[in-house]
C-alpha cells in the first residue's frame, strides 16, 4: 500500500500539535495557579514545587509538605497537631517545626546556623568538642552546656546516647544508620547525593531544610546574600584579562580524586572568568579519574587546590610532592600556586558568600587588592621550621 496523501499526513500532524499545545498550556496554567499557593509562614506566595539539585520540596497543602532527600527517599512534613494522613508511612513523617536535631556533617551544622536555629535545635554531633572549639564556638558552647551531645564517630554512633537526646530528626550522610534509626522511630534525612552538588544546589540547600523548621524567610535571606556575592564576583571578574587555569583534587596512594565540572567549585571557577581543568569531567564529588588525565591537566594549571589540610600533610609544595611523588612535576607545584583548606573551611559553609569571594580573590588577586585569606592557606615552596618540628 503506498502512502496516503500528504494532506492526510498534515491532518494527523496538526492533531498531534494541537494535543501537544493543549497538554503544555494545561501544564502552564496549572503551574501558574500552583505558584500562587500560600506558604504556611506569613501567607507569602511560595512555589509549590522547588527542586534543589537532587533534593526537592513539594508543598501539597498547608498541612502536608513532601521532601525528597539525597537518597531519593520521600519524607512527609506535617505540622504539630495536624493529623497524619492514612497514606503516610509513620517512619517517614516528620513533625514540624523540628525542635531537636542530630547532625552528622559539618555542612548540616552550618546549615542550621544559616537558618538561625542551631542553638535551639542541635542536640547531637559526631565530632568531639575540641574539633568545634576553634571554629564553631556556638557548637562547642552547646556541648559544654550539655545541650549538644557527642554521639561518637559517624562510623560507630552510640545509639543509646542518641536515643537519650530524643532528636526529632537526624541529618546524616551515612545510609547505614537508617535501619537503626528506624528501630528508634527517628526520621532521618540523607544529606549526601550520588552526583556532586552544583552551585545552585549549594546555595539553595538551606531552602530544602527550611520547611523542617519553618524558616523559609531566613533561607531566602541567605540565598539572597550568596546571590549578591556571586553577582559581585561576576561584576569584578568580567573585565579580567587573564583566565588562570585551576585544578581541584588530590592523589591518595593510587587513587586520583578531583572535583568534577558539575560540582559547585567547577562552576564557580568558570563563573569567575577562569578555566577549570576538569570542566568536562562529570559525576560525584571526589570522582576518581586516571592518573594520566590528572597529570595532563596539571601540566598547564596555574592554581591547585588540594583536599588536604596542613594537619593532614599539606604544609608546603615540597611536602605535597613528598606525599605524592607522581605529581611533583605539575605546574602549580613547580611554578604556580597551591592552596590548602584551613581547618575552619569545612565548618564555615554558612559563610559560603565569603568562601566564594575568597576563591575568586585567589584566582584573581589583582582584582581583590589587600584581601586577607581566611579559609585557605597558600602553601610555601618549602616547609617552615615549625612544620618540620611538627612532623618530627
Amino acid at each position: 500500500m503506498r502512502g496516503v496523501s500528504v494532506r492526510s499526513t498534515a491532518e494527523i500532524l496538526l492533531v498531534g500539535i494541537v494535543l501537544l499545545v493543549f497538554l503544555l498550556s494545561g501544564c502552564r496554567q496549572e503551574a501558574s495557579q500552583d505558584s500562587d499557593k500560600e506558604d504556611r509562614s506569613g501567607g507569602e506566595a511560595r512555589p509549590a514545587f522547588l527542586q534543589i539539585g537532587e533534593f526537592a520540596v513539594h508543598r501539597i497543602s498547608a498541612n502536608r509538605t513532601e521532601v525528597r532527600d539525597g537518597a531519593g527517599r520521600t519524607l512527609i512534613l506535617i505540622p504539630r497537631g495536624a493529623p497524619v494522613p492514612d497514606d503516610c508511612d509513620p517512619r517517614h513523617v516528620v513533625r514540624t517545626p523540628v525542635k531537636r536535631v542530630a547532625a552528622y556533617g559539618y555542612f548540616d551544622v552550618a546549615a542550621l546556623r544559616m537558618l538561625g536555629v542551631l542553638d535551639e535545635v542541635l542536640v547531637g554531633v559526631t565530632v568531639p568538642e575540641k574539633e568545634w572549639a576553634r571554629c564553631s564556638a556556638d557548637v562547642a558552647r552547646g556541648m559544654r552546656e550539655g545541650r549538644t551531645a557527642y554521639l561518637g564517630d559517624a562510623s560507630s554512633i552510640d545509639f543509646e546516647r542518641l536515643k537519650q537526646m530524643e532528636p526529632d530528626l537526624v541529618l546524616t550522610w551515612d545510609p547505614s544508620s537508617l535501619p537503626l534509626l528506624d528501630d528508634l522511630h527517628i526520621p532521618a534525612v540523607i544529606t549526601s547525593t550520588p552526583q556532586a552538588t552544583c552551585l545552585s544546589a549549594r546555595m539553595r540547600y538551606v531552602q530544602f531544610l527550611a520547611p523542617f523548621f519553618g524558616r523559609e524567610k531566613e533561607a531566602d535571606a541567605y540565598f539572597a546574600r550568596i546571590d549578591a556575592a556571586l553577582r559581585d564576583i561576576r561584576a569584578r571578574t568580567a573585565g579580567a584579562g587573564e583566565q588562570p587555569k585551576v585544578m581541584w583534587g588530590d592523589i591518595y596512594e593510587k587513587r586520583v580524586m578531583v572535583e568534577p565540572g558539575n560540582a559547585w567549585v567547577g562552576e564557580l571557577v568558570g563563573l569567575a572568568q577562569s578555566s577549570y581543568q576538569f570542566e568536562d569531567v562529570f559525576g560525584t564529588s571526589c570522582i576518581e579519574i586516571s592518573v594520566e588525565r590528572f597529570l595532563y591537566s596539571g601540566e598547564t594549571a596555574d592554581i591547585f587546590f588540594t583536599y588536604r589540610s596542613r594537619e593532614s600533610g599539606a604544609s608546603s609544595k615540597e611536602a605535597i610532592a613528598r606525599l605524592n611523588p607522581l605529581i611533583k612535576d605539575i605546574a602549580p607545584l613547580r611554578s604556580g600556586r597551591v592552596f590548602a583548606p584551613q581547618p575552619c573551611y569545612i565548618q564555615s559553609m554558612d559563610k559560603l558568600d565569603e568562601i566564594l569571594t575568597e576563591i575568586s580573590a585567589i584566582i584573581h588577586p589583582d582584582l581583590y587588592p589587600g584581601y586577607m585569606l581566611k579559609y585557605f592557606d597558600e602553601l610555601p615552596d618549602r616547609d617552615t621550621a615549625h612544620d618540620k618540628d611538627t612532623r618530627s
Binding site: 500500500m1 499526513t9 494527523i12 497538554l23 527542586q51 559517624a154 545510609p175 537508617l178
Partner: protein, 268 residues
C-alpha cells in the same frame, strides 16, 4: 464512522512514520542536551511514577523537560501510526494466505511481527512508568530483614560473599571488592531460600525484583564505613511486556532476514 475510518487509515501513512521518526530524532537530541544540563531533574524518573514526575519536576521546569512531553506525544502518535499500518498490512497478507506456503507466510509476516513488537515494547514502558511500585532507600545491615510491601515476603541480608581483586593488573582495585555479592535469605509463605544478590544479579520474590544499588565498605576491613547494602526494590508490571517485545522483535528480525535471503532474488 467514515471519517473515523479515513482518519484511522491516514494514521497508517508511511509519510507520517517518516515525519514522526525525524521529529523523534530531533526531540531526543534536545533531550540529551537537557539531561546534560539538568541531570537532577530526570533522576527521579527512575523511581517516581510518570504522573508524579510530570506534576512536579516536569511541569515546573518546562524549558528542560518540554522535550519529554513532546516525546510522549510523538511516541503515542508513532504507536497509533504503527498499529494502523501494521493492522492494514497484516490484513492484506492474511487475505492472500491461501496462495502462500506456511514458511512464505511466516517470513512475510516478519516485518509486521517487528512492528507489533515495537507496540508491545512501548506498551511495556507505559505500564512500567504508570504502575510500577518502587521502594527506594532501603538499607540492610548484616542480619537485618526487610518486609516487602503487602507482606509479600521477607528479605534478609545474611553476609557479604564478595570477590576481592588480588591481582596487579587493575591497580586501583587491588585489595578491593571487584564483584560485590550479598547472600540473602528470601522468605515467603513459609518457605525459605537463599539467593545471591549482585550488581547485575537481582533476586526476585513474589513479583518484586530486588536490585543492589550500592554497598559498603568497598575495601573489606580497610575503611571506616559500616557494612551495608542499599537496595532498589520494584514491582514492575511492564517487565514482562518489554521483554516479550524484545523477543518478538528478534523473532520478526529473524523472519525478515530469512525473507531477504530466501526470496531476495525473486523480489529483485
Amino acid at each position: 464512522m467514515r471519517i473515523l475510518a479515513r482518519f484511522w487509515k491516514a494514521l497508517g501513512s508511511m509519510n507520517l512514520t517518516i515525519l514522526l521518526c525525524l521529529l523523534l530524532a530531533a526531540d531526543v537530541v534536545w533531550g540529551y542536551a537537557a539531561i546534560r544540563w539538568r541531570t537532577a531533574l530526570f533522576i527521579p524518573l527512575n523511581d517516581l511514577g510518570l504522573f508524579a514526575w510530570m506534576q512536579t519536576y516536569g511541569r515546573h521546569n518546562l524549558t528542560y523537560t518540554g522535550w519529554f512531553f513532546a516525546l510522549l506525544v510523538l511516541l503515542a502518535l508513532l504507536a497509533l501510526n504503527t498499529a494502523s499500518c501494521t493492522l492494514e498490512r497484516v490484513r492484506h497478507v492474511l487475505a492472500a494466505r491461501s496462495s502462500l506456503s506456511v514458511v512464505r507466510l511466516a517470513v512475510k509476516l516478519g516485518p509486521h511481527v517487528m512492528h507489533a513488537a515495537v507496540l508491545v515494547i512501548l506498551l511495556g514502558y507505559l505500564a512500567s512508568y504508570l504502575y510500577t511500585e518502587v521502594v527506594v532507600g532501603t538499607v540492610l545491615l548484616p542480619g537485618r530483614s526487610y518486609t516487602l510491601p503487602g507482606d509479600a515476603g521477607v528479605i534478609t541480608f545474611v553476609e557479604f560473599r564478595h570477590e576481592v581483586y588480588q591481582g596487579s593488573r587493575l591497580k586501583v582495585f587491588q585489595g578491593e571488592v571487584i564483584r560485590p555479592e550479598a547472600a540473602m535469605m528470601l522468605s515467603a509463605k513459609g518457605r525459605q531460600r537463599e539467593a545471591i544478590l549482585g550488581f547485575n544479579q537481582p533476586v526476585r520474590l513474589n513479583g518484586y525484583s530486588i536490585h543492589l544499588s550500592d554497598f559498603a565498605p568497598k575495601k573489606p576491613g580497610g575503611m571506616r564505613l559500616n557494612k551495608r547494602i542499599d537496595l532498589h526494590i520494584r514491582k514492575d508490571p511492564g517487565v514482562v511486556l518489554y521483554l516479550t517485545g524484545i523477543g518478538m522483535f528478534c523473532l520478526g528480525l529473524g523472519l525478515y532476514m530469512l525473507d531477504w535471503r530466501m526470496y531476495r532474488e525473486v523480489r529483485q
